[in-house]
């Protein structure tokens, strides 16, 4: 099996998945009781005028038979047309293109941070005694149990209000992203560390680690040559999930730290029932998830080619 056919198969599967997501959303919108045009315009509260509703009907081809609507909808999706946000009166795709970099920057930095924190936590816990291990578990679990919105508030109080070290909002500078990134990273790192520590422990106590010691390797070498890879693998496996969680978290973190981004746009869209925007973001996050999964699989294949070939389920 070759890279090309592998890629083709995966991309194909992802496309099917996206098509399904789009279909589910299409059906869902039409299942809302009442006038779909009104739903698109923000629900009964929006006080949309008769003309506005008619425009919406035109724009979304609601006067056509349902299958024709579906066809048009899919056609637009393929060309990247996600509709127009009624609240902002701009193409959804354009809004998302503007919001994406900020969210991506935040989630990526948070992801890297989470990995680092998790690895350090796991490494310290793995090398300490029983009490240290128990403490490690408790810290990990607590980290994983902290809600973003609370953590964000606490960090603002401590580092911004009390100590005055870091800005409470994103100022476009490096300092500005520190608190949001940590807020997003810490709970995630709790999850990752739990996983990493388990595999790290298994790795440094495994026969191949003993073999390395028997070859004269020092503890440090055992740790970095063997432990790290094995700890990384399950964590990597979770990256798809982690990215998804980070996007969830970004909704809250962007709100607390007043950062622009997809999450905040979504929240605004939900509050104003801006359906085109909501569905656009839903589709988009599914796309991101699938792209991330593709990348993860590729990276996994590099770290562990055998598993990648064998595991097809």
């Amino acid at each position: 099996m070759h890279i090309v056919s592998w890629l083709a198969r995966r991309v194909g599967a992802a496309a099917i998945l996206l098509w399904l997501v789009a279909t589910v959303i299409f059906i869902a919108i039409r299942m809302i009781p009442g006038d779909p045009a009104e739903a698109i315009m923000g629900g009964p509260g929006s006080q949309a005028s008769a003309e506005a509703l008619e425009t919406a009907r035109e724009q979304y081809h609601l006067n056509e038979p349902i299958l024709v609507q579906y066809g048009i909808y899919l056609g637009q999706l393929i060309t990247g047309d996600l509709g127009t946000s009624y609240a902002q009166q701009r193409p959804v795709a354009q809004i998302m293109a503007e919001m994406l970099p900020a969210t991506l920057q935040l989630t990526l930095i948070a992801l890297v941070l989470a990995w680092l924190i998790a690895f350090v936590m796991a490494a310290i816990a793995a090398r300490s005694n029983r009490i240290g291990q128990v403490m490690g578990t408790i810290i990990e679990v607590i980290a994983a149990a902290v809600p973003h919105f609370w953590l964000g508030a606490m960090l603002i109080i401590i580092f911004s209000t009390w100590l005055g070290w870091l800005p409470a909002v994103d100022t476009g500078t490096v300092q500005g992203i520190i608190l949001p990134a940590f807020t997003l990273a810490i709970p995630l790192s709790g999850f990752l560390a739990q996983l990493m520590r388990d595999s790290l422990m298994t790795a440094v106590n495994s026969p191949f680690a003993l073999a390395a010691r028997a070859r004269g390797a020092s503890e440090g070498q055992v740790f970095f040559r063997h432990g790290f890879r094995h700890a990384a693998l399950p964590a990597l496996n979770l990256t798809g999930w982690a990215v998804a969680t980070s996007i969830s978290g970004a909704v809250v973190v962007e709100e607390v730290f007043a950062r622009p981004g997809l999450g905040r746009s979504l929240l605004g869209a939900v509050l104003s029932r801006d359906m085109p925007m909501v569905t656009g973001i839903a589709l988009f996050s599914a796309l991101i998830y699938m792209v991330v999964m593709l990348i993860v699989e590729a990276v996994e294949a590099i770290i562990n080619p055998a598993a990648a070939r064998g595991d097809d389920q």
Binding site: G42, G43, P44, G45, S46, Q47, S49, A87, Q88, Q89, R90, I95, E98, M99, A102, A153, I156, S160, T161, G164, L166, P167, A168, V169, T171, G176, E255, V256, F257, A258, P260, R264, S265, G268, L271, S272, R273
Partner: protein, 526 residues
């Protein structure tokens, strides 16, 4: 106009310096459109004050004075208003300000395409604008309107370049073109709006400024909805000015060497209106009972930290014609109980809620989370708890703006707090004339208390049409007195408009007619 400022450090400001960009953090939702003609809400007015100017404005004493207008005359029958604009003013796009602009702007407001609401109502009585000469235009009215200058002092009717108005609505939204000391440079949606200094600015009225242009290089206008975050940003020096300041932070600002500008909005006071069109508040006794049951003063004291003096008036404290009567609103649970007994709500159910003819004493209050700040929501929660003690079952529905409008439109409310900002006492006609029960095409109606008293209607119309100042004041007072005494409205406090600013911001204090701070004279002490 001018608000009350407590200067940041109390020291006299030094020599003004030019330069620097002011970072502004707003707690309002980001405007959909930077042209305040479109829709017309307060946040739009707040920012438009920086780049648009109005024909009239208010001075420190609350008197209406010309601004872009040079002169203004009313015909004897009150049906023609002649306005001439100041010569030598140019728009940001380089075009000259002429009488053509008056015509273009009023027509723009009246054009359904513009989807104007506030501005539309303000110029409702203008039937036609006739160009007299290059600088002069006649406004022909359908009925006399002594509020027209006040209406034209609001930024929702601000004057924009006719060329710019000719563009597509969305285009104008993103880049409105006015004559103000700043202009819109760029709008990074959901991030910030960048304003830069208008280097060709000429102030239309006499002034003692050495240089005509603003001191600031520009203003960066950001949206930080989280109140705590906004304050933290101010504290840490990332922003210079914040609006919608929380009462508790206003109070602690003094210790933190932070300046405070209190600029109560004109028009209506912040009040709770009781829906008199349906049970149980169709009964004046019940309305009074509710008002006596709740502890407004205690709540305001705890929640607003002395930043919001209690109001006993329908109008803002900045309105000279406001009438207030403290004696009507004393609190007392016993009186409330007596009133309810008298009104026939004598039975009680298992939850201790009063009943009458098998009906429970239920009242519903939809609260808009976009319009009621947290402290206000807490105040209503307190009302809820206090009203329950005398036997009301009060339900609070926290809603987004559109659902809130929907509930009002469907008369699905017994109490509501709806802000209304307008310059001048004619606000009263908008709010309490029975015509305002009739919904506008948009579905919104302003008379939420559903006051329907023919005498009051007459007083309000007469008051707006008379040319006699004294008669006007007299009529407005009578109308207000009647509405208050019949317990349609529970006044709370002025519409809050608090700004906090860092100690390096100098010259804060001037505001426009709608109480929006102006930054023309503001400079940064760098």
């Amino acid at each position: 106009g001018c608000g009350n400022t407590d200067s940041a450090d109390g020291e006299p400001a030094g020599e003004p310096q030019s330069g620097g960009t002011l970072m502004y953090a707003s707690g309002d939702a980001e405007p959909d459109c930077l042209d305040p003609h479109y829709g017309g809400n307060y946040p739009q007015g707040l920012i438009a004050t920086q780049y648009l100017e109005t024909l009239f404005t208010k001075d420190e004493n609350g008197e209406t004075i010309p601004w872009l207008a040079e002169t203004s005359e009313v015909s004897d029958d009150g049906l023609t208003h002649t306005i001439s604009v100041t010569d030598g003013i140019t728009f940001h796009d380089g075009t000259e300000l002429t009488s053509e602009a008056i015509k273009a702007n009023i027509e723009h407001l009246q054009d359904p395409e513009t989807a104007s609401s506030t501005g539309f109502l303000a110029v409702e009585r203008v039937e036609e604008v006739e160009i007299v000469d290059e600088l002069t235009a006649d406004l022909h009215l359908s009925a006399p309107d002594n509020a027209i200058e006040e209406s034209l002092s609001m930024h929702w009717t601000a004057i924009q370049s006719p060329d710019a108005l000719a563009r597509d609505v969305q285009e104008n939204c993103a880049d409105p073109v006015g004559t103000g000391p700043f202009k819109v440079d760029s709008w990074e949606r959901e991030q910030q709006i960048n304003l830069v200094r208008n280097e060709d600015y000429v102030q239309p009225v006499e002034n003692d400024r050495a240089e005509e242009v603003a001191y600031l290089d520009g203003i960066t206008w950001r949206m930080i909805p989280e109140a705590a975050t906004r304050y933290a940003a101010l504290q840490s020096g990332e922003v210079h000015v914040i609006d919608n300041a929380q009462p508790d932070t206003i109070q602690s600002a003094e210790d933190a060497n932070i300046g405070h500008l209190d600029a109560p909005r004109p028009g209506a006071s912040n009040r709770v209106e009781l829906n008199s069109s349906q049970a149980p508040f169709d009964d004046q006794l019940v309305r009074e009972a509710f008002m006596r049951a709740v502890d407004v003063n205690g709540g305001i004291e705890a929640l607003f930290f002395d930043t919001a003096p209690r109001s006993y008036s329908l109008l803002s404290s900045v309105e000279p014609l406001g009438y207030s009567d403290e004696s009507l609103f004393t609190q007392g649970a016993d009186e409330a109980n007596e009133l309810l007994d008298e009104a026939g709500w004598t039975e009680r159910d298992d939850d201790n809620v009063r009943m009458k003819d098998g009906e429970r004493l239920e009242i519903v209050m939809p609260v808009s989370t976009n319009q009621s700040v947290p402290a206000e929501q807490s105040l209503f929660e307190q009302f809820q708890a206090q009203a329950s003690e005398v036997g009301f079952d009060m339900q609070i529905n926290l809603l987004d703006l559109s659902s809130w409008y929907a509930d009002l439109a469907e008369h699905n409310y017994d109490l509501v707090s709806a802000p209304y900002t307008k310059v001048g006492p004619s606000t009263l006609r908008t709010l309490y004339h029975s015509d305002s029960i009739e919904p506008a095409p948009s579905g919104y109606f302003a008379n939420n208390a559903q006051v329907d008293i023919p005498e009051v209607d007459q007083m309000l119309v007469d008051a707006q049409e008379t040319t006699d100042e004294e008669e006007r004041a007299e009529l407005y007072e009578q109308a207000q007195q009647r509405i208050l005494e019949d317990y349609y409205v529970l006044p709370l406090y002025d519409q809050q408009n608090h700004f906090l600013y860092a100690s390096d911001v100098q010259g804060m204090g001037e505001t426009s007619a709608i109480a929006a701070p102006k930054y023309y004279n503001v400079w940064l002490d760098q």
